[in-house]
Symmetry: C2
Subunit: 346 residues, 2 copies
């Protein structure tokens, strides 16, 4: 294989590299936009109308070895994770994935057993969420690349978009935060923890779960006004929901995982920082009409999940923290490609 083309670097006007969101903005500005899109460009998934009331839902996301696969993650886990991160976006929209395609970039000379692991991981991820792999292709690349395309058909009425939150709605999440951020810190900076804690935190990194059952139940209930997954971090997700809905939030409780509290205490870290500004965590962040709260909570619990209220949507367009009398601003930051420190340990 010939060596990679050399790329000239551009640190932009501010002397920094172009960030992921800046790149997306450049790309978006160059596209002719399709009209009549049932889901706005930039939401978690794309969709087009196929007939009265039904939409085809599409999503693509890519896992790259050197940035998305920390040391200690097996090929099986990486392949499964590539599926999970796509399924999570379907979950956030309330859509069941039907089939997926996999486009693989593999280094020349990859071992048979590694290919086998990747294939089994892809299949396991798909089957875990009721989908099938129906095609794909294989390419030579300098690093592992797993690009997944997900497809499903949904009833328009069950779609949960980012942009529907209204003043007074309850903000809620489907789980506790910070384990992935703690697990990555553990992998990168070598903190000391108990064996048991280590296992829990690394499991969060290597075996993420998409909240598909919860998302499908919420979509069907019609109780949700806006929804996103937390793959770029809780703080970032809140800002996205707020921005797309034209509201603000006051967050009165941040559900930090118990293991994260212990990890943070032991290592002198801020548990709130880990819970708010992490990423690669696949909870759902939703807003619920107050009158429908009990129903929303009930349908999620019926699926074996939980729905935790964390705050309220406000007219004031800021995202504020007000926990135990501690007031502050939740910053619009989280995981960003090209800017964030790579998660890779290799």
């Amino acid at each position: 294989m010939s060596k990679s083309r050399e790329y000239k670097h551009d640190r932009g006007d501010a002397g920094e590299f172009l960030g992921e969101r800046e790149i997306i903005e450049i790309i978006r500005s160059r596209l002719n936009m399709m009209t009549d899109l049932p889901v706005p460009f930039g939401d978690d998934v794309a969709a087009i109308n196929i007939d009265k009331g039904r939409v085809a839902v599409l999503k693509t996301d890519m896992l790259v070895g050197c940035t998305d696969m920390p040391r200690g993650m097996s090929f099986w886990q990486a392949a499964r994770k590539a599926v999970v991160m796509n399924v999570s976006d379907f979950a956030a929209k309330g859509v069941q994935p039907a089939v997926l395609l996999t486009s693989l970039g593999l280094p020349r000379g990859i071992m048979r057993k590694d290919v086998d692991e990747i294939a089994r991981g892809l299949n396991a991820g798909a089957r875990e969420y009721g989908a099938y792999i129906v095609g794909g292709d294989t390419n030579e690349a300098p690093d592992l690349v797993i690009s997944i395309s997900l497809f499903g058909i949904a009833d328009c009425k069950t779609l949960m978009l980012r942009g529907g939150a209204q003043v007074g709605d309850i903000v809620a999440v489907t789980g506790f935060f910070g384990k992935t951020a703690a697990g990555l810190r553990l992998l990168m900076d070598g903190f000391m923890v108990s064996k048991e804690l280590r296992e829990v935190l690394l499991n969060a990194v290597c075996m993420p779960q998409a909240r598909l059952r919860e998302g499908l139940a919420l979509g069907k209930s019609g109780a949700v006004s806006a929804s996103i997954d937390s793959s770029d971090g809780l703080a970032w997700s809140l800002h996205e929901l707020a921005r797309m809905s034209g509201v603000g939030f006051v967050i009165e409780s941040v559900p930090v995982a118990e293991e994260v509290r212990r990890f943070a205490e032991f290592n002198g870290l801020d548990p709130l920082e880990l819970a708010l500004y992490g990423g690669e965590e696949y909870e759902l962040v939703v807003t619920v009409k107050p009158k429908r709260w009990v129903e929303a909570k009930t349908v999620v619990e019926a699926m074996g999940g939980c729905l935790l209220p964390i705050g309220k949507a406000t007219r004031d367009r800021q995202v504020l923290l007000n926990v135990d009398g501690k007031k502050g601003v939740i910053e619009p930051r989280g995981w960003e490609h090209f800017k964030s420190k790579s998660t890779s340990m290799s």
Copy 2:
């Protein structure tokens, strides 16, 4: 960005690296197969039934800088080509692409003007074939990766599969072959040619065209019994059609582009070799029921294209050459990732 993970190499039982088709076989063996697929696994596209008579058609393919982007190809051209190679598979099935998603891997520090070029190339490729880009994502990667997912809806009856050729059917192609192979040889090995010839051959490499209008017309006509595109080379495509249909072919004429004859003569190369065993060329290779031949030819010509008969389907399952009294076997080889010499010059 941290350096790439190191991959252990496996040269397989035969002392060679795993080839693309071997890798695909390993992957396929590990997947749970969905039943009732309207298009068999391994055809140019995947599809699932959406309602009576209609199918959702999906395709994904990836362009990787170091293997698929020869020096001299601009970012704009690479991005457009990534779209064209996917559209070509839709063309071969007779399906109009509606929308596409783009999953990009970009090196950290990529320049604003390069991102801009990529975005404009993607949009140009999509619009050229009547499709829109409706979503995607951006990732950090050690080399340029453009993964495209294409989506469209088709009438079941217009789908042209690889596996329908019958003994006696006419084999036909939509154009002349060898320009891309000659152009790549020109780029890699530095042959001497006239400026005008150089321009034609490099244009074939950098500005490929998908035969979408031809494919749509043929699909609608119902005259075609089997179809594939020639992206892995004419020889390989013929073998695939033969294998999937359970027939053989006798090829009585190989349409070699006039420019390729001149290039080959000037440089002491075999024009047939360039035309048969190239790749990255996006003509359609189809079989037509003899009684429908005139109709097939007419509908393609009405679209401004051409349909050239090159041989016949036979009971004997070989793919044979019989041109001007020269008999031989057409080998099942063509472009294959992991095995073929990389096209990159960087």
